[in-house]
Every structure is written in C-alpha cells, then in structure tokens.
Symmetry: C3
Subunit: 320 residues, 3 copies
C-alpha cells in the first residue's frame, strides 16, 4: 500500500516562528507523532502512555511538559509548555492551514472512461484529481471520490459513498452510505470559539476488508486511521481519528471507537459496544455486545458489561 | 438569527371547529407552546413539568386535564380533555395539514450563480425556493437545501447533506451525510394506523457550531430544536425534536437525545450516551460515555453509568 | 404483498455436486429455511431453537449435526456435518454466486414519466429495471431504487435513499438517508479471507410503516427481513438480516437488532436499546431505552437494563 500525501505541509518554519518564547531557530519541516518523526520534524509527547515511543524518538524537537521531558532522548530539543495539545493545535495549523475543516473538493468531475478502462461506474459518480482505481473495481451511483484517493483492484464501492484522504487495498467492499476519511472530532475547547485541530492524517483500509452501510471512519489527526486486512465492520460503526484496528476482526453494528485506540488481531466486538479513547485491546479479545470498554484489555480476554469486566463475572452478577 | 416560517398555519379557526364539544367560538390563529402562545393562539399543558410556563401563558385557550387546569391563569380558556396530546395532534393537523409527513421539496433546482455570487458550490447541488446562503459559504456536491432554509456567512456545508426547515448561523461546519430539519418521531400510537403529529417547528443552529458526519437533527414539533453557539457534535449523533442544546457543548459520537430535553451550556457528553426525553441537564455538566441519563442533572455535576449516577459512585461500584 | 425474486437460483444441482462426500444424487433446486423448503429444496438445521420447524420440514435434504438430525422427519435426507453454517455458506454460494457482495445496480436510469404517470419524482432519481411504484407515491431527489423493487400506493420516499431487494406496501413513509435491502453481516470467519455468505433474502415493509432518517435495514440471508404494519422506526435504527418486527411497534432512535430476532406486535423499544441475535420478544413487550436484551422475553413483560431485567427490579437496584 503506497503512502500518499493528501495535505502538503507549509514551511519549513524555524522553531522560534512556530512557538512563542522559543529561542531555537532550527528549520522544521513537519509535525509528526513520536515514532514517525525524524530529524527534520517536531513531535509532541503529552501522556506517559507513549513513553516507549518517546525514549527513541528521532525528532529534532518535542513539545511536552517539564515532567515528561525527562524521558526524551538528549538529541531532542524540549519545548516545555503547560498545555501540550493546545501548542500542537497551533503549530499544526501553521503547517496545515486547510486541514482543520473539511472543505469539499470542488474539482470533482464525472470519471473519464479512458482513465479507468476496466472500472465500472454507476450514474453521477464524481471523481477528484489524481484518483486511482484498480482493475475490475466497481463504483456505485452518486458516490464521491475526492482528489488523490487510491482504491485497489476488485473493490466494490457502493452508492452514496464519500471517500477522501483514504488509501484502500484490494478486494475491499464498502457498502452504501459510508463516509470515510473525514476530519475527526479534534479541537481545543474554548469559550465562544473552539480552536479546531488540523487533521492531516489518512485512512488506510487494507485488503479484503468489508465495511457495511453508513459507517463513518475519520482520518487521523497527526497520525493515521487503519483498518487491518480481512476485518469486517457491520452497519453504522463509528471509527474515530487515529484508531487502528488489526486483522481478521469482526465489528458488529453500531459499535463506536473513540479516538486513538489500538485494537489487535482477531478481535470480535458485539453490537453497540463502545471503546474509549487511547486504549489498547489485545489480540483474540472478545467484547460482548453493548459493552463499555474503559481500560486496556489483554490478549485472549473475553469481556462484557458497562464497564466491561470478565465475561464470567458479568454472567455471575446477572444471575444474582 | 432571523425567525423563519416554513409552514404557514391554515385558519383562523373558531375554537368550536377545532375541538368537538367546545362551546367557545373565539378565533384561533395558531397553536404554540405555553410560553410562546399569545392571545390569538391555542396552547396545551400536559405535564406538571411545565407549570412555571403554564402560570404565565398568554394563550387564548389551553388544552389540558382537569387537574392541571388549576395552574393556568384566569384569562386562559380551559379545554379539558383526557388525552392532551391526542387533541393537540388533531388540532395541529388542522393548522398544519402538510407538516406530519416529510414531503420532499419538488421545487429544487441547481443554484443560479447570480443569486449566490460569493458562494462556492460543488456538483449537483439542489436548492429550493427562497434559500438564503451567506457570503463565502461553501456547499459540497449532491447536497440538497430545501425551500426557505437560511445559511449564514463562512459556512462549510459538506456533501450528501439534506437541510430543511433550518436556520443556520455564521461559521457553521456541517460534515457530509447529515440530515437536518426532518420531521421528528412524534405520533399518537393507534392500532393499525397511528395518528401522525404535525411538526411545524424549525431547527436553529447558532454561530460557530460544528456538526460531524451523518448526524440527524429533527425539527421541532410545535416548539423548535436548537443547537447553541460553538457547540460541537461528533459523528452519528441523533438529536430528536424540540431538543435544546446550549453553548460550548461537546457531544461525542453516537450520542442520542430523546425529544424535548434541554441541555445547558458547557456540557460535555461522552460517546454513545443517551439522554431521555423531557429532561433538564444543567450547565457545566459532564456525562460519561455510554451513560443513560433518566433524570434531571444539576449544574456542575459529573455523572456516569446506566442509569447515570455521580461519577465517584460509578467508579466505587466498579471497583467492588 | 406480492412475492418477488431478486436473485434467481442457479442449478438445479444434484446433491453430490453440492456437498463433498455425499452419495445422494437427488436434484436440488434451491436452499431455503426449514419451514419454507419443499421437496425440491435443501435446508439446514443448526440450533435446537428451530426444532419445531425441523420436525415438520418438507425439504428433500437437510444439512445438520448428528445430534440434531434425530429431530428431522424420515422423509428428509440428513447431511451430517460438523459446521452447519460453513456448509450452508458454500452451498448457497453455488445457488447464488452474486448475492454475497452488494454489486451496485448498473442499469439505473432516470424514471420515464410514461411508466409512472401518477408518481412524483424529485431531481436525479435513479430507477432500475422493472421497478414498480404505486399511484400517488412521491420519491425525493438523489434517491436510488434498484431493479425489481416494488413500492405501493401513497408512499413518501425521501431523498438520498437507497432501496434494493425490497417490497414495500402502501402508505409507507421512508425518510431521507435510509439504506434498505442491503446485504447483511453474515460470513464465516476465516484467517486472511472470510467466506462471505450469500444473502438472497428480501426486505418486506408492510402498509403504514414509517421509517425515520438514516436507518439501515438489511435483507435476509436465506430467510427475509420483515417490518410489520403500522410499525414506526425512529432515526438511525439498525435492523440486521432476517429480523422480523411485528405490527404497531414503536422503535426509538439508534436501536439495534442483531440478526434473526423475532419481535411481536405492539412492542415499544426505547432509544439505543440493543436486541441480541436469534431471540424472541413477545407481544406487548416494553423495553426501556438503553437496554441490552440477551434472552427471550414473554408477552406483556416490561424490561429495562443491561442486561435487561424486569423494570421493577431495575428501579429497585437503582435506588439502592
């Protein structure tokens, strides 16, 4: 799966132009997460959850708090602030001034058959610039595919779908009404006017995935959102920004994932369950329908309940 | 924000034509809620929840029960019935015979650029009669804006959206797939054929609001539905008829509001929480994800659980 | 309501071509559920829940387990397997090779007024071959009605709707954004590549039904999905494959039904409740908002909670 850039960063900026009261004048080319940043980038470190990545970051500079800064390598310049995410919001807005609102793609046109000789299109399909669609894929009527989206071979993309900022593998099925690649629910709350957070990330949907009707999958903010190979989502599932779902998962109807959670492989989740943000769910986990997961779950666990507890305990409590 | 009338009342009717076995023959021009009705209107009073408004209503007449009627002012003619909402349904149908089913607007046309010189439109946008859209607003492809809808300045309205019976402020962002201003879930259950309730109300969305993808916001029945300034809704939120949400609120994904609840300012609600109907949630309240709120919540409370209880108690119970 | 075939079975096949290691060579024309199969069909029996139907099946042959096979009548040839649904998936794929993915209908055209003289259409409506629409029905803009769908008289079908594999009665209202008749969430989980289950069933929506915005109603797999007369669904309800909902039901917003559950008449279900798969909910049952129903419910019961328990007990527990 090719890496694609939907938003190109402005800049480079010197550090003291990115952050008030910063004396460094190193040139910074982009803002990235801890484990993806390199020596041209700035990164951020706002929670001890990410200490393992912080220890080894290659970033030139890192926005963080006094306390967390000690974990960072010496090579990384520490920018100490009180509210990490507020600074990140301001900086990412400088690099990506157009990524904090979902401006509709106004370059859409009907697809030229000569550009997509082996693709079948329904009526009124609208395609942005540089969209790639693989052989033998089918796209249903009234579907919108915005600029630079990539779709693999043998895909079936239904009707009334909107795809943006997304890279989609082979043999993927997306059913009618899905909205994929939109800006996530990220902002800094402020009285009278919130500060919108730039969402420059992508959605990656791997081979053999099936996504049922009317799901919403938001793109990442600074990271990406990922749906792993052969994972199936039922109707009306909500996947927030930066969520990563592994391979061979089964996600039943109306499940919701809050931002930045990481789900392992072979995980099954019953209908209407909710997974809080920034959690880690292990491999082979089974989560019962309607559960509310509010802490990490180890590999092979079976949980149910709100909040989710081991399944046996849930059933015991019920029988009382 | 201008007041707009999407449905014009038939009539006036004399009271004895509106209600069987009523001797008064005063002319009645409209049906309104207790605190909005004036001396030309009929109103209704079906629950002691609304006693404060009942005491001071200026309505010419009020449909109510024997017991509640004592709270009404002397100036208001009491129409005593057994089933208040059944009578209201019948009367509102006389005033608004076309408001109980969402007849699609069949007057839609592609927007004339000369009517909207500074608005950018995607492809296949359909606009009804007398639609107003403010300067520098953008409307994405395949979006439908029905007659008389008003949209302010600097708005970004995504693709595949349907707007009707709505008045939208400035700097509002609405993401793809939202359906706003539709008829709510109001009817009188009857064997074999329910009696549909007219929905003549509007949706008001104030400045700086952001509504993420695939939300549904129903218009009011006799009252209006309101989203306050700088309130943000995440994907797949459901807002039922007559709900009023205050300013600066954060509503996470898949939250549902049943009809007629009133939410204060600065309220944050976690994903998949549900708020029952006819409740009052105070200012600065925090409601945890997955909660089921079934009673009023005072200002500044933090609650979680199903049913929602103070957050400390919820955590205590969990640790047992 | 006329019976319609959206998918025609291939075949007939002789039994030994349908199933490896089977010696019978009877000609089999279709695969059907226990109580609908006749002497030309194969059926399947995978759970003791269906024993009553198994006893009287008229099917020529039945895929089942050793243990369950004893319940079947002598006239029915038993095909003993370890994983009944895996065999059913393989066989139904032979009969219905195109029913396991929702290929968009590529035969859509704008409706010819001469074919639908008394039907009113919005803009950009797309209609497949052999679609029938009754007198005085209205279809909103951007709506897609795929081949062979039947719609009765006096229906109001909103905008941005997709209908396929569906038969819809008279006086039905479907609000904007609904997706009805799509393939359900049925497959055999397999590492790296799930085996998709053919969905040849229909959706039947009876007279006087109202379905609010953005609902998803999946068609049946081998059986059908049914919404009974005068039943009303609020916004964002999810009805999975094979679900049968009775008459005069009220289903509030964001309710979810897992596959194959059967709901009686006059049932009311509060917002965000979830009904697990393969359950039976009796007549006149009331299910509180947010409930999680995980076992059968008898007639006239009132339940609430997760898991759902009698309402009195729920309130008692809460007051503790």
């Amino acid at each position: 799966m090719e890496d694609t850039i939907f938003f190109k960063p402005k800049g480079p900026f010197s550090l003291n132009k990115l952050i008030d009261a910063c004396n460094y004048n190193d040139k910074i080319h982009d803002i990235k997460i801890l484990d993806k940043a390199n020596e041209k980038d700035i990164t951020f470190f706002e929670s001890s959850r990410y200490s393992e990545h912080a220890k080894y970051t290659k970033a030139k500079a890192c926005i963080t708090t006094q306390k967390l800064s000690e974990i960072l390598p010496k090579s990384c310049k520490k920018i100490l602030v009180k509210n990490v995410l507020l600074e990140v919001a301001k900086i990412s807005k400088k690099f990506y001034p157009d990524a904090d609102i979902d401006y509709p793609d106004l370059s859409l046109k009907k697809p030229k058959k000569s550009n997509y000789p082996s693709v079948k299109f329904g009526n009124n399909v609208l395609i942005g610039k540089k969209v790639k669609i693989g052989k033998k894929s089918i796209v249903g009527s009234n579907t919108i595919i915005e600029h630079d989206v990539q779709i693999g071979k043998n895909c079936v993309i239904g009707s009334n779908i909107l795809l943006k900022n997304s890279v989609i593998g082979n043999n993927v099925v997306i059913q009618d009404g899905c909205k994929i690649g939109l800006k996530g629910f990220g902002f800094i709350p402020m009285k009278n006017k919130n500060l919108k957070f730039a969402h420059k990330g992508n959605v990656y949907i791997h081979d053999d995935v099936e996504i049922a009707s009317s799901c919403t999958i938001d793109r990442g903010s600074i990271d990406d959102t990922i749906i792993g190979q052969n994972t199936y989502l039922d109707n009306q599932v909500h996947v927030a920004h930066n969520v990563k779902i592994g391979k061979n998962c089964m996600i039943a109807g109306q499940v919701g994932f809050a931002g930045s959670s990481i789900i392992g492989n072979n995980v099954s989740i019953g209908g209407q369950a909710g997974i809080s943000g920034h959690l880690k769910v292990g491999n082979n986990v089974k989560i019962g329908g309607g559960s509310g997961v509010i802490k990490d779950i180890n590999d092979n666990e079976v949980v149910m309940g709100y909040p989710a507890i081991p399944f046996r305990d849930f059933i015991k409590n019920w029988k009382k």
